[in-house]
Every structure is written in C-alpha cells, then in structure tokens.
Symmetry: C2
Subunit: 509 residues, 2 copies
C-alpha cells in the first residue's frame, strides 16, 4: 500500500490524461483521413498513425503505470469499486493488464495494416472487386487472431474481441440474446414486409436540397442537445462520431438529395453519440469516470435519438410542420400519417446502414456469425462472399447482386473491427429498454416530444447513463437504469407497437 | 570518425524523418485549429500543441543525435558541404546546436502561449480592443527575448530571430537593403498614387460569387502547377500554406464576393508556396535536401506566381477571356487594359495583406523597425499602437482609424513570429530577380504565358530552386540562380516598368 495514495492517484490521473491527449491526436489523424486528406497523403498518414499508436501503447503499458496501479489497488481508495477513485483504479488496471499483453510490434502493425486496409477496401468497393481487398483482409485477420490468442480466451477467440468493445460480454450469453431476437424477428419481418408490399417511399424520394437538409439536420441535432460550440458536422462516405478533446466532438453524415432519411436519421444517430460524449464529465476527461461505458451503451444513445425518438409520432408532430416549411416542394400538402408510414416501413434490403429499424438486426446477427467463423478459421476469405450471400438469402430472403452491395459494404473488417457489429444490436435492445424505463418514470414524454422539448429525456440520460462514465459495466448500467437484464422483448414490443400504429394493422403481435 | 559512416548516415536520416513525422502532426493540429476546430476545443488544443512541440524538441535535441552528427562531421561524407550528404550533415548540425540551446520548458511555454496568444489576438481584433491582446503579447515578448538571449547574438536580439527564418541574414545587411528600397519607394509611391488618383476599382468591385471564384481559382492554381491530388484548398480568415506530409500540402484562402483580387491573388500566392513544397524532393522528405531553403526563398515563390506572373499582361491575355466566361455579369464587355490597370493600381492603404505590390514593402519595413524596438525593449507594448500609427503616417501618409485596422491586423506577433515579416520583402526582391533571370534565359516567356503555358518557368524553378532544397543557403541560392546578390533594383525596375505600361505614363523612372 502506498504511503501517500492521494499522491499516487494524482500520478495515475496524469498518466491517464496524457494517454487521452495522445489518443485524441490519433483521433484527429483519423478524422482528417476520412474527411479531408488528399489522396496522395494516405501512405504517409498510415506511418503517422502507426507512430502515434505505438507511442500511445507505450504510455499505456509503461511499467511505472503498472506499479502505480498495483499500489493503489491495495489502498483504501480502491475500496468502493464504483466510486470515481475506485472505478478509476479498477478499470485502468483491467485495461493495463490487457494492453500489457500486446507487444508494441503488433500494435503498430495493426495500426498500419488497418489504415492500408481501409484504403484498399474503399477502392475494392468503388470498383466492385472483392479480390482487391481479400489479401489485405487476410493480413488483418492473421493479426487479429494473433491479438486474440495473445490476449487469451477460454476457447472462443471472439470473446477476446468482444472484451475490447463490450467488456464482460461473452459469445455464449450474447448468442442467447441474439438467437432469441432472430427467432422472433424473422417471421415478424416477413409478415410486416408483406403488409408494406406495394407501398413506395413517395414522399421520401422527392428532391431535398443538400443545403436545406444540412440546415434542417443541424437544427434538429441542436434541439435534441448536440452543442455545436463543442462540436461540428462534416461530410464523409461512411458517417461517424469522434472525440478530439473534452470540448471537441465531431460528427459526419452523407447527403442523398433523392432520399431524405439518409442524412437526417444519420445526423440524429451521430448526434446521439455526440450528446453522450458531450455529457461525459469533462473534469474526468480521459479517465474512467469521464469515459463511455461500452460501445453497446454508446450505440444505445445514438439509436435512442435516431429511432425511439426520431421516428416517433410525437417527434414529427413538432418537426413535420418545420420540414414542410423547409422543403415546400417535397412536402407541401403531405400528410403526417403518410410520412410516418414511410419512415417506419419494414422491408428486407441489402445495405445495413440503409436498413429499417427491424431488419437492421438481422444484418447484425449474420455478421456476428460470419466473423466468428473467420476468426476461428472455419471460414476462409475466399469463401466469404458466398457465405455472405447465403446468409442474406436465409435471413432476409434476398441475394446481393454483387460484392459492392454485399460483403464489401462495411468498413469495419478493413479497420480490424471484429466483434464490433453486435454492439449495434446491443444498442438497439438497450435503447428500447431505456425508452421504456423513461416512459415509466415520466408519463409526459409524448407531450414533451410533440412540443419539441427533449430536455426531460436528456436530463434522465445525463443522470442515469452519461455522468456514470465507466464506473459501472454495461450490464450493471443496464440493470440500474432499466431495472433488468438486456433482453429482446422491449425492442420487439416497440417494433410491434409502432408498426401497428403506423399501419393500423397488428402484425405478429 | 565513425567506422561505418554510411550506417551512421542512415541513422541520421531516420532521426530526421521521425522529427519530420512529428512536425507534420504539429502542422495538422495547427491546420485544424485554423480551419475547423470548434470554439470549445481551443484550450485543449493548446495543451496538445505544447505536448507535441515538447516531444519534437526532445527528438531534435537528443544527445544521440548530437553524437551522430559529431561523428559524421568528421567523415568523408561531410567533405562537400553542398552535396546531399554533406548538406544534410552541415545543416542538421547547425539546427541541432541551435535547438540544443533552448530548454524544453521554453519550447512548451512558447507553444502554449502562442496558441493562446492567437486566440486572444483573434478576439481582440474582432472586438477592436487592443487591451485584450496586450498582456498576452507581453508574455510572448518576454519568452521571445529569453529565446533570443538563450540562442545568443552579437548585440542585436533580432539577429537571433532572423536566423530562425532566414539563416545567415543579419540586421545590419538587411537594414542596408530595406533602407535602399524604402528610400526609392516612398517618393515613387507618392507619384504613382498621384497618377492613380480618381481611378476606382470599378471592375474588381462587382459581384463575383464565391463558388465561381473557387472554381476559377482552383483552375488557375492547377494550371500554374499546384497538384490537387497532393493538396487541397480550404477557407480561413488568415490564408496560409502548410505541409502535412510528402504528398499533402494544404493551402487556404478567403473570399470577398465584392472584391475579386482577395481570393484570386491569395490562391495564386498560396499555390506558389505549395508548388515549392510539392517540388521538393520527396525521397529526401524531412531532411535538408528535401526542405525549403528559407522563408524568404519560400516567399519568392509565392510572390513570383502572385505578382510577377499573376498580375502580368501575358497571364491575363490567356485568363481574361476565361474570367469573362466565368463571371459574365461582372466582366462582359470589359476591356483587358482596364482590368490590368485595376489589378496594378498603386494606392497607400491600411491593411498589409490587401496592399498593392509596391506599397506592400513599406508595410514590411515599418514592422521590421517596430519589432526590433519591441525585442530590444526600447518600445513598450503600451506605446505600440501610437508608434504603429505614427509610422503609417510617415511611410504611407495615412493613419489607421482604429487598432483592428492598425496594430491588430496581423496574426504574426501573437504566434511569436518576430523576425518573420522581412522575409516577405526578401521574397519580393528575390522574385523580381528570378523573373529577370528567367526572362534572360528564355526570351519566349511572354508568348508562353499568354498561351497559358507555365511549364517553362516551372521547370526552371524546379531545377534552380526547388530541387536544391537546403543544400545552399538563401544568399548562395540567389547568387547561383540570379547571378547576383539580393538588391532592390530588379523589384524597382519591375514596378516602374509595369506601372508605366499599365498607365501609359512613366512615373519616377
């Protein structure tokens, strides 16, 4: 036990903040790569990212950090594992032990290969040539297998991957939840899609100018709580949210002038991530009490604003008249009911990021299965496109016409993000449970939302989720905030209820 | 002498490249600060810049680097001081000795204070309140005086500052050249301004849409040689050019829809800087043979394209018809002669960056005098605004109505850039000598330029300036490329000749 634990804690926090500062450098290098980097600058950027990732790894695995954590773990400051100090020591120790297992060489190789992998993926997708990407994917997979085996696991490499994004989650438990969801969804989706057959996105497919979409989206993002004095919105092919400092959170979107939902729900989604980041405690920036709990929890925040709020009738009771004024040629004289029907249509489709709220989860479950097989080496990258297409036929009843709209559609694997996909569905499940809990705590939510007032929900989220940081694990946070374990039923009830309301018919309920 | 000098040289180059990679990180942090950073992110950005500047300083002052340089300086590789290897050893040794004198604390303080200084300056300028900036300026000046005294000098602190931007230049020599220029310019400017009296910028003040200005500027920048696959153009209040890697050079501009020259000549200017950067040898990126010679040489490249080419009759013989098609409502039916007269008008004005090609140099000479007095502590920051206004009255016959258009107009001092201003006029002088030498070598230049062909000049610059990197000092480069020492006469002859041609009257010649 250290003689002066407070002093040692100060050292620990200084180390954490230094790592956060370098991590934010890395985030800037990556943000810039995806938004603005000239094409000629890519190779050098990969070198820079590798250099900074190596430096960050050195800071995170410094033996002095290990000593500091070892001493503090024995001190009274560590007594309460959920206090700011206790959680800091506990979580940083867990991260340190994990990081210390990985050699610097592997960190730098992964950093470099995944920058190059993303570049190769983008080209392969543009040219619709999976073969351009496959050798890079093999190299990345070899490094990820090595990483999983180095980290250690009880037989399933995928557990080691999950631990990175969703600490405490296991393949076994997750399979149970996702299987339950899949079994209920497949038949319900088929019925709902039947009910939607013949309907077209007539309103949503009209012309919406990019500049008006941007203005409308920025206004809505600000209204739900995204602070543009501490953030910004840019344009990228593959939208994302990243944090470059305690007061610098950046979101991106893409615009389709002939399909309204792409940018608008994308902005709500990324703003939801940003609102979580902006709601973290800045005095603990870069340390566990000021960090997000898990990627699943992060995703619950984006899905909540995008779907549970943003596709609801009360939300549009306020926003539809505003949209009609902003887009008179597209929406003048249109009926709110028709609009709600279109934004809540259920229809199996090829592209995950364009999928509706229900079918989306089937895109995830099939990726969850495929990436386990890739990591376990029971599926080769050569057979991957065929396996992909077979799963789409099985789960969604459709087959991709080419790899660009099939196996090449997502950036994740090229970026080394295996085990990341399930966090999207964890987010959907948690968002539905959160909305249910919030409604139970404050029956006025519909009335508030239809006035354009989201402060009640925002304050609830700040209190129950954002300001808790990483002091609780995701499952603990879920239990405390929603009163129960993560399960498929809240999401299924939400989908059934909304669909019934939108289509005045009760499908599968 | 090292037993294996080639091996040691490899080590030296690896160290130089590592420093360049970190320097490019710093450049990205600063580019982002000036183009996109949300307002809330500024304080943290200052911390990041300080951290990375400290890291860079540590790399550049590593004792192992000193040992390596000491050994190599005795090896046969150092024999020819202008060979790639010899220059690398000589220049890196000079830089190392200079850097090693400065303590890390001072580097980090300067980095932090100048980020904060620029933020305070921007606010002071916006609010027209010099008092908001003065305490920051005092702090920066104290650090710069400390830096100059630490570096050492023969009595003039300013020499230590000049050495940073224009290695080998001294106050004594520079004063001689600038005095000669000033004495000739003041009466000539008065006469030329008289000849222009009553004329208005009628064509230039019409409406030029921002998007058309951008398209026209990008087209011209590409035509003179800026490669957009290795660079980009963005918007900032204070335009600049920065290099973020061997194939990533970024320029910025600002648009005034009611004054054509602001963006267009700004783009040519920054593209000129960028063309120099893009013409450096990428195989020697980050080392002296792949670095620019001095800021004065850098500025000669921007001024050459902006003024010697961009304001010439042959340039507009090609570009004027294109401009007329791009801006029909502003330029349809306009005469080329009238346009040339407007873009070459001589008129004393308040703002340096908007000054014409002739009066510009008087803005520089007065800053050169004031900043020497600030560093020597013979002028206090309290008295600075009055001293500034008095100089404007003396040199240009006009007095700023407020500090925003007076002493607060430039970012430089807030960024700690003392000794930087004279490099602008060195650039003007050198550009005029280069144009003279190029014309002497290739009498076809007018015919080429009026066809929109700048490859002859570009190749000459690549050969005589760009690919020589830092293997020669700026004065040596000037002598080799133009056949003589830097002097005021080529610039004066150029100004007189062009003015006479534009106004069909011979003023002061």
């Amino acid at each position: 036990m250290p003689r002066d634990p407070e002093n040692r804690l100060g050292e620990l926090l200084a180390r954490a903040r230094d790592a956060a500062l370098v991590d934010a450098l890395l985030a800037l290098l990556q943000w810039d790569e995806r938004t603005t980097l000239p094409i000629g600058g890519r190779a050098y950027r990969a070198e820079q990212v590798a250099r900074v990732a190596g430096q960050l790894h050195a800071i995170r695995t410094d033996p002095g950090l290990g000593d500091c954590l070892g001493e503090l773990a024995e001190s009274p400051l560590a007594a309460d594992p959920h206090s700011d100090e206790g959680a800091t020591i506990r979580v940083m120790r867990r991260d340190f032990e994990r990081n210390a297992k990985i050699p610097a060489r592997l960190v730098e190789e992964l950093a470099r290969e995944t920058v190059l992998g993303q570049q190769a993926w983008a080209e392969a997708r543009n040219r619709n040539e999976y073969a351009l990407f496959r050798p890079r994917l093999d190299r990345i997979l070899a490094l990820k297998r090595e990483q999983a085996d180095t980290l250690g696991h009880g037989g399933a490499r995928y557990d080691a991957m999950l631990e990175e994004y969703e600490p405490g989650a296991t393949v076994r438990e997750l399979t149970g939840v996702l299987e339950g969801l899949r079994l209920a969804l497949i038949p319900w989706v088929a019925e709902a899609a039947d009910a939607c057959r013949g309907r077209e996105a007539r309103l949503l497919g009209r012309f919406y100018s990019r500049s008006d979409q941007e203005a409308f989206g920025v206004e809505a993002a600000a209204r739900i709580g995204f602070d543009f004095s501490r953030g910004r919105l840019d344009v990228t092919d593959h939208p994302f949210c990243t944090t470059l400092g305690p007061h610098d959170c950046r979101i991106t979107t893409r615009y389709d002038e002939r399909f309204f939902p792409t940018a608008f729900f994308g902005i709500l989604h990324e703003a939801g991530h940003g609102i979580y980041e902006q709601g973290l405690r800045t005095d603990w920036y870069g340390t566990p009490p000021g960090s997000f709990a898990s990627l699943g929890v992060h995703e619950s925040q984006s899905r909540l604003w995008e779907n549970l709020v943003g596709r609801s009738r009360p939300f549009w009771e306020h926003h539809f008249p505003i949209a009609q004024r902003r887009f008179p040629s597209a929406l003048e004289g249109a009926r709110l009911d028709a609009f709600l029907g279109e934004i809540n249509m259920v229809r199996p489709s090829l592209i995950r990021v364009e999928a509706d709220e229900a079918t989306y989860n089937l895109h995830i479950v099939l990726r969850f299965e495929l990436e386990q097989a890739l990591l376990d080496d029971t599926l080769s990258t050569t057979d991957l496109p065929a396996a992909w297409n077979a799963k789409y036929a099985e789960f969604l009843g459709i087959t991709p016409p080419d790899d660009a709209s099939g196996v090449l559609q997502d950036v994740h694997w090229s970026a080394g993000l295996f085990g990341y996909f399930p966090t999207y569905t964890i987010g959907n499940l948690l968002a539905a449970q959160i909305a249910e809990a919030y409604r139970a705590s404050d029956r006025a939510s519909d009335a508030e939302w239809s006035r354009g007032d989201y402060t009640g929900l925002l304050e609830w989220l700040r209190r129950e989720i954002h300001t808790r940081g990483r002091c609780f694990s995701a499952p603990e946070l879920c239990r405390r905030a929603t009163g129960r374990e993560l399960a498929p039923d809240a999401l299924l009830a939400h989908l059934r209820g909304k669909f019934a309301q939108a289509y005045h018919g009760h499908v599968g309920s």
